[in-house]
Symmetry: C2
Subunit: 213 residues, 2 copies
DNA sequence: GTCTATAGTATGATAGAC
DNA sequence: GTCTATCATACTATAGAC
C-alpha cells in the first residue's frame, strides 16, 4: 500500500522521494500561482516552497535561482498557450471552418486557459518586464511566436490577429482586476463584462467561481 | 540669485527646503518611474527617494507607507488619463465630429499619454493587483470610471468602448514589452507593431526614442 | 521640512548532513 | 532527492535632532 493508489498530494505529505521531473512540474505549478498573485519581486522562494510542500533551499537548488524559476514558469505558460492554439487551429482546419468560426473557437479556448489565474497573471507580470534582459526577451519571443502561429498556421490577416490579441489583452485585464466580482451590483460593470466576453461569459464566470468561491 | 531662475533639479541638489505640495509631485513623478520599472513589491522606498533626490525616511514620512505611496501614484495616473480623455471629448463635441473621428483622437491622446513609461507601467502593475484589498479597489474603480466616461460623455456604444479599450490594452502590452525595439530586424514584429498602432506609429516611436535613446 | 541613525524583520542563496 | 542551519544582505518604518 505504499505508492500505487496515492495521489501526489498524499505522497507530498508523507515526505516521500519523488522523481525530479514530477517534482519540477509540482514546483512550477505552485510557482505559477505564487508569482501570479505576488508578482515576480513580491513572491519569495519560500512561499513557492510551502505551496509545493518542500523546503526553500530545494526550490533554489532545483532551479538555480529565483529568476530562472520565473523564466521556466513563463515558458510553461507560453507552451500551454501555443499547444492549445495549435490544436484548435488543426481541428478547425480539419473541419473546414470559416475564419470567424476559427476565431471564436480560439477565443473560447483562450478564455478557458486563462481561467487558471496562475497562468494568466504570470503572463501579465512578464508583459510588464520588457526591460529585464532575460525575462523580457523570453516574453517578447513568446508573444511573437503566438502572433506568428495565428498569422501563418491560423491563416488570419494581420488586422484580424491584432484584433484578436487586443481583445485577449482586455480579457486579461478584466479577469486580473476581478472586475467580474461586481457584475451583480453595478449595471455599468455588467455591461462591460458581458460585452467583453460575449458568448464566453459562462466559461469565465464558472472559472471565477471555482477560483474564489 | 537664490530662487528665481533655478530649475527644481538645481534646487534639489542644493538641499533647499521646498513647499510640501511641490515635493509631493516630485516624489510622485519619481515613484511612478520606479514602481513602473520594478513593480510594486520590487521597488523600494529608497530607490524612490534617490530618484527624487531626498532621503528615504522622508518619503515614508510624507506618504505614510509604501502602499499608500503606490495608491497615490495610481490615482495620479488615472487622473491624468481622465483629464486627457475629458478634454478630447469636449473638444470633439464642440467641433461636431463623428464617432470615428472622436475615437481616433482619443486613441492618439492615449498613445501620447502612455509614452510616459511610468504612467503606463504603474497602471499595468495595478491591473495585476485586483486581489489586493486597497490597491485592487482603486484600480477597478479607476478602470470603471474611464469606461463610464467614454460610454456616457463620449457617447459611444458599449461595443465601441470595449473595442477601444481592447486595443488600448494591446498598446500597453507592446510598449511595455519593448516590442517596438525589434521593428527593424524582424518583418513579423514590424507588421504587428504597424498594424497595432496604425497612424499613431510615429507618436509611439518618437516617445520610445526619447525614453531610451 | 528634512536629515541621520537604527531597530526589527525578511530575503536569496550556500554548506553540508542524510 | 531532500533537509536543517545559517550567512550576508536589504527592506520598511520609527525616533529624534536640526
Amino acid at each position: 500500500m505504499s505508492s500505487v493508489s496515492q495521489t501526489s498530494t498524499e505522497r507530498l505529505a508523507s515526505g516521500e522521494r519523488i522523481p525530479a521531473a514530477e517534482r519540477r512540474e509540482q514546483i512550477l505549478a505552485a510557482a505559477s500561482r505564487v508569482f501570479g498573485e505576488r508578482g515576480y519581486a513580491g513572491a519569495t522562494t519560500d512561499q513557492v516552497a510551502q505551496a509545493a510542500g518542500i523546503s526553500q533551499p530545494y526550490v533554489v537548488r532545483m532551479f538555480g535561482s529565483k529568476e530562472n524559476l520565473f523564466v521556466e514558469v513563463l515558458e510553461r505558460a507560453l507552451d500551454k498557450l501555443m499547444t492549445v492554439f495549435r490544436t484548435v487551429i488543426e481541428e478547425s482546419a480539419a473541419a473546414d471552418e470559416t475564419t470567424d468560426q476559427r476565431s471564436a473557437r480560439l477565443g473560447a479556448a483562450y478564455a478557458d486557459l486563462i481561467s487558471d489565474r496562475g497562468i494568466l497573471l504570470s503572463l501579465m507580470q512578464a508583459f510588464t518586464m520588457g526591460h529585464e534582459p532575460t525575462i523580457g526577451k523570453v516574453a517578447r519571443d513568446g508573444f511573437l511566436a503566438i502572433y506568428s502561429l495565428l498569422r501563418t498556421e491560423g491563416r488570419f490577416t494581420a488586422d484580424h490577429v491584432v484584433d484578436f490579441l487586443a481583445h485577449g489583452m482586455l480579457f486579461n485585464t478584466l479577469i486580473a482586476l476581478r472586475m467580474t466580482d461586481g457584475i451583480d451590483d453595478n449595471a455599468l460593470v455588467s455591461e462591460l463584462v458581458a460585452c467583453t466576453f460575449g458568448a464566453k461569459l459562462d466559461t469565465v464566470l464558472d472559472a471565477v467561481a471555482r477560483a474564489h468561491p
